[in-house]
């Protein structure tokens, strides 16, 4: 939690309190962005609503840029940040599966809880399904362990993989994000013009 912990203003024992606060804020932002509506989320796949892409891309580039600035100013310790290991095969497959669940269910795991929190039945069912899926996955893990750990690239970042600094990667992502925002807004307009079954206020 920069800048407070590296500058020794508070101790690391506050981790869980901070995690709770961030979690609460995250849930609030999801709900405030309208992510508890599955229509909004599935819209990405049909081309009439790209708010999911916009919110997450914005969050990503702001986090990336902010993180690099904070680390530059010594507020965050870069070496303590955990980089997830990249299992290429299982990540590709998992991404595909996730997208499938996204378009069928109309939620992603996090938003299903915000939907459940405001009392949507489909959200509750989805959240239950997530827990059931986790349980089944863990129980059957030995069967596909080989596939799961195949093609391990280790704890790499994009910058390390292609050999450029993190700053360049962040800049590239900002450019990509802005282009994506523009392109999707055009797609959105076109699709919405031809849509009759769903009215936009």
């Amino acid at each position: 939690m920069g800048p407070l912990i590296p500058l020794e203003i508070i101790t690391g024992h506050w981790d869980f309190v901070i995690a709770l606060l961030i979690g609460g804020a995250f849930g609030y932002i999801l709900e405030a962005s309208g992510f508890s509506s599955s229509r909004m989320i599935a819209g990405v796949f049909y081309g009439y609503n790209f708010v999911v892409l916009r919110v997450f891309f914005t969050a990503m580039i702001v986090a990336m840029v902010g993180y690099l600035y904070f680390s530059y100013m010594g507020w965050i310790d870069m070496s303590l940040v955990f980089v997830l290991p990249t299992y290429l095969n299982s990540m590709l497959f998992g991404g595909f599966l996730m997208g499938l669940g996204f378009v069928i269910g109309g939620f992603c795991p996090g938003t299903s809880y915000t939907a459940a929190a405001i009392g949507k039945i489909d959200g509750v069912v989805f959240a239950g399904g997530v827990l059931l899926g986790i349980f089944i996955f863990s129980e059957l893990f030995p069967f596909y362990e080989d596939f799961y750990v195949a093609n391990n690239l280790g704890n790499v970042t994009i910058g390390e993989m292609i050999g450029v600094s993190n700053e360049v990667v962040a800049f590239a992502f900002v450019v990509i994000a802005i282009v994506a925002f523009y392109v999707t807004s055009i797609i959105e307009k076109k699709v919405r013009k031809n849509m009759t079954e769903y009215k936009f206020e």
């Binding site: 800048p3 981790d15 995690a19 995250f26 999801l30 962005s33 309208g34 609503n49 708010v51 997450f56 914005t58 702001v62 902010g66 600035y69 904070f70 100013m73 010594g74 507020w75 070496s79 303590l80 940040v81 955990f82 980089v83 997830l84 992603c108 795991p109 996090g110 938003t111 936009f200 206020e201």
Partner: protein, 213 residues
């Protein structure tokens, strides 16, 4: 479509706060007054080099040299300095050496390539301040081998025309593996066994918490 999509007021405010935080951070960034001139790795190789110390017997010659006489700094406290010190030494403690004026002075000396020798009571007292100064880039600063105590021994030996003691540091005085087997006190009870399973902890890098939406 949400209302804020047409009028991103909140996003705008949030974004401006973000920018202000970053700019404020950049403006208040604390640049240290004293910068380390050499990296820790260089510092390790520098202290491994044994030529940084000056022998006590050579001090007098260096001090009386007609051109660019060496400057001597006594980093011990005033009381000890008053009780006895090497002639012509300046009494400046390690912390005082980093004051604005002294740093300026040391910089001038460094630019003029005038050698500076610091000493404390013993090698241990001298080592720390010397290392800090080295890492700040004062290459002209050396230390007196063995410190003041050793210097006094050398001087006394010279006076009495005895062989001059040499100062050896960092050497093992014993063959530990042999010596440590036998106790010098009477060994009556050797029944102590020690088969404890010892666990050495290792710091975990980065807490493993990953999240997503």
């Amino acid at each position: 479509m949400h209302v804020h999509e047409l009028n991103p007021k909140k996003t705008l405010i949030a974004m401006l706060i973000f920018a202000v935080v970053i700019i404020a951070g950049l403006l208040t960034i604390n640049n240290p007054r004293l910068k380390y001139q050499i990296s820790p790795a260089q510092a390790i190789s520098m202290v491994s080099d044994n030529n940084q110390g000056v022998d006590a017997s050579k001090i007098d010659n260096l001090l009386s040299a007609s051109t660019n006489p060496t400057i001597l700094i006594d980093i011990r406290n005033h009381y000890k300095f008053a009780r006895g010190h090497i002639a012509s030494a300046n009494n400046i403690s390690g912390v005082e050496l980093l004051s604005e004026e002294n740093i300026k002075w040391l910089n001038e000396l460094n630019n003029d390539k005038i050698a500076v020798i610091i000493y404390g009571d013993d090698p241990l007292q001298t080592n720390g301040p010397w290392m800090v100064l080295q890492q700040l880039g004062f290459e002209n600063i050396k230390f007196l081998k063995g410190g003041y105590n050793h210097y006094v021994q050398v001087k006394n030996a010279e006076k009495d025309h005895k062989p001059i003691p040499t100062f050896i540091a960092g050497k093992a005085k014993y063959n530990y593996a042999e010596v440590a087997k036998i106790s010098s006190v009477s060994d009556t009870d050797t029944g102590q066994s020690d088969k404890k399973h010892s666990i050495i902890r290792h710091k975990k890098k980065g807490t493993v918490t990953a999240g997503g939406c």
